[in-house]
C-alpha cells in the first residue's frame, strides 16, 4: 500500500524526522489562516503516481488569495486519470542542497538496501550508477550509527549537517522495520538554513503485514471498485485495457495466458489469478467481477493441480445457471480429474479445450466477432 506524501510525513514527524511546516486541505476556502502564517508556500497535490511536478501538480503562492486560487486549480486537475482531492500546503523552503535517501528491499541480497545520492530532487532512475551510494543492511544488527554516519559523509556532509542526516537515516530504517515497509524514500532530503529535513516523502507498506500495522497507519484505497472487490475475495486482479476477460489459476500461468492472447492478436481486459478456489461461491463472485468490466468474451484457463477439474466444472455449471452470461465463454480444462471435469461440462452442453493455444485462438476469434456487433 502506497501512502500519500502527507501520511508519510506524519509518520516522519512521529518518528522524529524533521519535515516542513504544513497542513492538508480539501477546500480552497480554508487555506487563509495557514498561508497567512507561513507564506510563501508550496501547494502539492496528493496523488500516488510519480511525475506530479511535470503534470502541473505542484504550485507556489505568496498570499492567501493567491493560494486559494491555486488550490482551486489543483482540485480541478487530473493526474494520470485520477482527480486531485487533497492538497498539502507547506512553507516554501530556502533549499541549499538536495539529497536522495531511500531504504528498499534487495531481492538478491534478501535484505534491506539503503540507496543515497548527493544528486537529489530528480527521479532516482535518472541518477547515474557512479553517483549512487548503496549499502546492504544486515537485519540481525540493523542499520548502525557508524553506517549512517558513513553514508552522511559520503553524501559530502560534515559537522552538524552530517549528524542530522545520519540521525534521519537511522530513523528511516526504524520506520522501515517498524511499519513493515517495502520502501521509505526521502527525495529530496534538503538542507535549509542549516537544518536537514524531508521535503518530500514516500512510504510503501507491505500489504501482507496489514494485521500488525501500527495503529496510526491510515488506509489508502486508490483502486477501482472491481479491484477492491477482488481484493476482498483474496483474488489477484489487475485491470487492463482490452476486451477479453481472463480467469486462470496461478500467477505465472495467468501472465502467460495474457501473453498468448496478445500473441494471437487479442487484447486482455484483465489479469485474474483466481488461485485454487474452486468453490461455487468464489467462482460466482470472480465471474461477476469479470463480467462487470464488460468484456466481449471470457477465457477460463485452468490447469488442475491442487484444484480438481471436476470441482471447477461443477462450480462453473452451477454459476452459469445463476448468472446471466451474455458473452461467449471459452474454457480450457486440464490436469487432475480432467476426464471427469470435461464430462461434466459436456453433459451441460459446454465444450472445453485441452490445448491452451486452441482455447486462446477461439476466444480471440469470439471477441473479434463481439466487437463487430
Amino acid at each position: 500500500m502506497k501512502l500519500y506524501e502527507y501520511m508519510a510525513k506524519d509518520i516522519f514527524r512521529l518518528s522524529g524526522i524533521p519535515v516542513p511546516q504544513g497542513a492538508v486541505f480539501t477546500q480552497a476556502e480554508k487555506v487563509t489562516e495557514f498561508v497567512k502564517e507561513h507564506a510563501p508556500v508550496a501547494l502539492k497535490s496528493q496523488v500516488l503516481s510519480g511525475g506530479r511536478g511535470k503534470a502541473g501538480g505542484i504550485k507556489f503562492a505568496d498570499t492567501p488569495e493567491d493560494a486559494a486560487e491555486r488550490v482551486r486549480e489543483l482540485l480541478n486537475l487530473k493526474i494520470k486519470g485520477l482527480p486531485v482531492e487533497t492538497i498539502l500546503i507547506e512553507e516554501k523552503l530556502k533549499i541549499e542542497k538536495e539529497l536522495y535517501v531511500a531504504i528498499t528491499v534487495d531481492s538478491q541480497a534478501k535484505g534491506p538496501l539503503l540507496l543515497a545520492s548527493a544528486a537529489g530532487g530528480v527521479e532516482i532512475e535518472e541518477v547515474p550508477d557512479d553517483k549512487l551510494i548503496k549499502r546492504l543492511i544486515d537485519v540481525t544488527i540493523g542499520l548502525r550509527p557508524y553506517a549512517a554516519q558513513d553514508i552522511a559523509r559520503r553524501l559530502g556532509l560534515s559537522g552538524e549537517e552530517a549528524y542530522q542526516a545520519a540521525d534521519i537515516i537511522l530513523k528511516m530504517y526504524q520506520i522501515f522495520r517498524a511499519y513493515d515497509a517495502e520502501l521509505v524514500e526521502i527525495n529530496p532530503l534538503v538542507i535549509s538554513k542549516g537544518q536537514v529535513l524531508a521535503a518530500d516523502g514516500k512510504i510503501t507498506l507491505d500489504d501482507e503485514a496489514f494485521f500488525r500495522y501500527p495503529a496510526e497507519v491510515p488506509n489508502v484505497e486508490e483502486r477501482t471498485e472491481r479491484e477492491v472487490k477482488a481484493r476482498e475475495l483474496g483474488i489477484s486482479y489487475v485491470e487492463l485495457d482490452g476486451d477479453i476477460g481472463v480467469m486462470a489459476n496461478g500467477a505465472g500461468i495467468t501472465m502467460a495466458t495474457l501473453d498468448i492472447i496478445k500473441h494471437f492478436g487479442g487484447d486482455p481486459r484483465n489479469f485474474m489469478d483466481a488461485g485454487g478456489g474452486a468453490g461455487t461461491e468464489a467462482m460466482a463472485q470472480a465471474l461477476e467481477i469479470l463480467l462487470s468490466a464488460n468484456p466481449k468474451a471470457l477465457l477460463i484457463n485452468v490447469f488442475g493441480g491442487i484444484t480438481r477439474c471436476d470441482d471447477v466444472a461443477k462450480a462453473y455449471v452451477q454459476v452459469k445457471n445463476s448468472l446471466d452470461i451474455q458473452i461467449p465463454v471459452v474454457i480450457r480444462l486440464v490436469g487432475t480429474n480432467q476426464a471427469e471435469g470435461v464430462a461434466i461440462l459436456r453433459q451441460h452442453g459446454i465444450d472445453s479445450y485441452e490445448e491452451v493455444a486452441e482455447a486462446v485462438q477461439r476466444v480471440v476469434a469470439l471477441a473479434g466477432e463481439g466487437r463487430l456487433n
Binding site: Q108, M255, G335
Partner: protein, 289 residues
C-alpha cells in the same frame, strides 16, 4: 541422483493436522515420499495418514530422522515455524505458504544464512524428483523421470510446461519452484549450480517472469554453464507498476522488464521460447532427440 530431494530424504510436515497439511501429506505419501513425522502443537500423539504427530519440531527430531521440513502454516505464523525448524537443526525447509510478510521473509533468510539452512519458497509449489519423492503441492500425475532439470518462479505455469515435456517423452531429474515472492530462499543461480553439478541432469529449463533481476543474474551464470538452457518468461504483456499476482512480478522504476530478461538470457546462450509449448520443441532440437 537428483538435486535437493531423493527417495532417501526423510520429511517432516509442519502443520500436518490442518486441511492443507492433511491433504498434501496424503498426496506426498501416495507419490512415495518418505514422511517420518508431523508437527502440530497440542496434538502430539495423534497420527495423520499413519504419520506420527509431535507437539514441537524439537520433539520430532529427537524421535525421528528428519532431513527436510515442509511448512503448511498460516502466513502470520510462518516465521515462527521456520525458526523452530532451524533451531531444531533441520537444514532444508520448503515453505509452501503464500502471503508471508516481506519482513518475515527477510528475517527467515537472515537466520537461515546464520544456521546454514537452505530454503525453498515461500509461496512455492515445492520440489519434486520424479519417480523418487516430492515435497510440495504439485499434481502427482504430470511428471516423468528423466534428465531435464526444471526451475521456475511459478507453479501452474511450470505444470503447463512440464506436462508438455512429459507428453513429448522428455523426463525431468528434479523440478524446483523458487516461489513467487520478492524474497525467497533459493535463487535461479543456486539451482542452476546444482543442476550443472548433477550428473543425471543433461539440460535445464528455466521458467521466469517479469520483475526483479533474478533472470538477469541467472543469465550471468548461464554464460559459463556446460549444459544447455531453455527459458520461458511470463509477463510480456504486463503493464509497468502493477503487481501481476506474485509479489515479485512487478516492473518497478523501469527494472525487471520482459525485454531486459530475454536479452540477457539470449546473450548468455540460452534459447528463449516465445510460447510455453515451444519449450519442449527447443529442448528436443538441442538434445537431438
Amino acid at each position: 541422483m537428483a538435486i535437493i530431494l531423493n527417495e532417501h530424504t526423510h520429511i517432516l510436515v509442519q502443520g500436518i493436522t490442518g486441511n492443507q497439511g492433511q491433504f498434501h501429506t496424503a498426496q506426498m505419501l501416495a507419490y512415495g515420499s518418505k514422511i517420518t513425522a508431523g508437527v502440530s502443537p497440542g496434538k502430539g500423539g495423534q497420527e495423520v495418514q499413519g504419520v506420527p504427530v509431535y507437539h514441537s519440531v524439537a520433539e520430532a527430531v529427537t524421535h525421528e530422522r528428519i532431513d527436510a521440513s515442509v511448512i503448511f502454516i498460516p502466513a502470520r505464523f510462518v516465521k515462527d515455524a521456520a525458526y523452530e525448524a532451524m533451531e531444531a537443526g533441520i537444514k532444508t525447509l520448503v515453505i509452501i505458504t503464500e502471503h508471508v510478510p516481506l519482513h518475515d521473509a527477510i528475517d527467515i533468510m537472515a537466520f537461515a544464512r546464520k544456521e546454514g539452512v537452505e530454503i525453498v519458497g515461500p509461496n512455492t509449489f515445492g520440489v519434486i524428483s520424479p519417480g523418487k519423492s516430492k515435497i510440495g503441492i504439485m499434481p502427482n500425475s504430470i511428471f516423468l523421470p528423466g534428465q531435464v532439470g526444471v526451475v521456475a518462479r511459478s507453479g501452474t505455469l511450470s505444470y503447463e510446461i512440464v506436462s508438455h515435456l512429459s507428453k513429448a517423452g522428455i523426463g525431468q531429474s528434479t523440478v524446483v519452484g523458487l516461489g513467487g515472492d520478492r524474497i525467497v530462499g533459493y535463487s535461479f543461480v543456486d539451482i542452476l549450480k546444482k543442476f550443472e553439478a548433477d550428473p543425471e541432469t543433461q539440460a535445464v529449463v528455466l521458467v521466469g517472469e517479469i520483475g526483479g533481476n533474478a533472470e538477469e543474474t541467472a543469465a550471468d551464470y548461464i554464460k559459463g554453464m556446460s549444459k544447455p538452457v531453455v527459458a520461458f518468461l511470463a509477463g510480456k504483456s504486463a503493464p509497468p507498476g502493477k503487481r501481476m499476482g506474485h509479489a515479485g512480478a512487478i516492473i518497478e522504476r523501469g527494472k525487471g522488464t520482459f525485454q531486459s530478461k530475454v536479452e540477457a538470457l539470449t546473450d548468455a546462450g540460452a534459447k528463449v521460447a516465445a510460447l510455453p509449448w515451444e519449450v519442449s520443441q527447443l529442448l528436443s532440437e538441442i538434445m537431438g532427440s
